[in-house]
Amino acid sequence: MRHFRTLLAHELRSAALSWNTWAAGGLFLALMGGIHFFSLIEASRAPSDRTPVESTLWFFWLPLLCVLPLLTMRTFAEERRSGTLAALLTTPASATAVVWAKFLSTWIVWVVFWLLFTLFPFLTVQRLGTPGDARLGDPSILWGGLCFIAVSGLLHVAIGILCSCVTRSSALAALLAFICLLAMTAAGGAMESLPIESWEWLGWLREPAAHLRTFGHLQDFAAGILDSRPIILYGTGTLLCLGLAVLSVEGQE
C-alpha cells in the first residue's frame, strides 16, 4: 500500500507536469465548450425535449473517443519503449501497484476534466439564466450525468490502460483504445439493431443488448435512476481489464 501511494503521487505529479495532459485538457475543453455553445443555440431556436446540458452530455462519446486515448496511450507503451518499465518492476513495488497507480491517476485526470466542464453551464446560468428557472443549467441532470461519466470512466480508462500494456507504440495504443471504446459504446445499440424479433435463435441477445446500452445508462443516471446493473457492468469490466493488464505487465518482466 505504501508503494501504491508513492506511485500514485508520482503519477499525479507527472500528469500535472506533462504537456500531453495540458494539451488533452485544452482539446477537451474546446470540444465540450463548442458542443455546449451549439446546444444553447439549438435550444434557443426551437422547443426541445432536452435541456442544453442534457444535449451536451449526449455527446460524451466524442471526448471519450478523441481525448481519453491521448491520456491512456502513454501510460505503459511509452515506459516500455524507453525501457523504464523494466527498471520500475525491479523495485519492491508489485506490478499490481504499478497498474492501479497509473489507472487511478488517469481516472482522476479524466474526472477533473469533466469537473472543469461544469464551468460552462455555471457561466451560462450566471450570464443568461433567469432566477427560479433551472432549465438552462439543470443541476440534477448535470451531476447525474457526471456520476455516469465517473462510473463508466472506470471501465473506459481501464480499457485504455490495457491497450497501452499490449504494445510498445503509443500511437498504436491510442488506436487500439479508440477501437475498443467505440465498440464498447456502440455494442448495445448495434446488438439492438439486429433483427432479434424475426430471428428466433437471436432471442437470447435481447437482454445482453439492453445491458450494454451505454446511452440508456446515461439517460438513467441523468434522470436520477441508480440501477445496479450498469454499476456491475462497469465494476466487473474494470476489474477484468486491470487484471489482464497486470498479467500482461507480469509477462513482460
Partner: protein, 81 residues
Amino acid sequence: MAPIRDDFGSVRPIRRLNRLTQALLAIALAVVVNFLASLPEFRLRTTSLQTDATRLRPNPPRPSEPPGAAAQSALVAIKAG
C-alpha cells in the same frame, strides 16, 4: 560457444499456460456475472405488481369539507352513540 542453459525452460510454458488460464477464467467470470445481471428474473420483484399498485393507490378524493367538520361529525356521533 555453447548456448546458455535455461534451467527453467521446462517450467516456463506451464507458467505461461497458467497466465492464459487465469485470463480466460477472469473473462468467463465477468461474462457470466454480467449475463446473470442482465437476466430479467433477477430484477423483477417477487411480489406481484398488481398488489403493489393496489397498496400504493392514492386515497379516493373526498368532497371538500370546512375545517373542523370532521371533528364536529365525530363529536355528534359520540353524543348519539
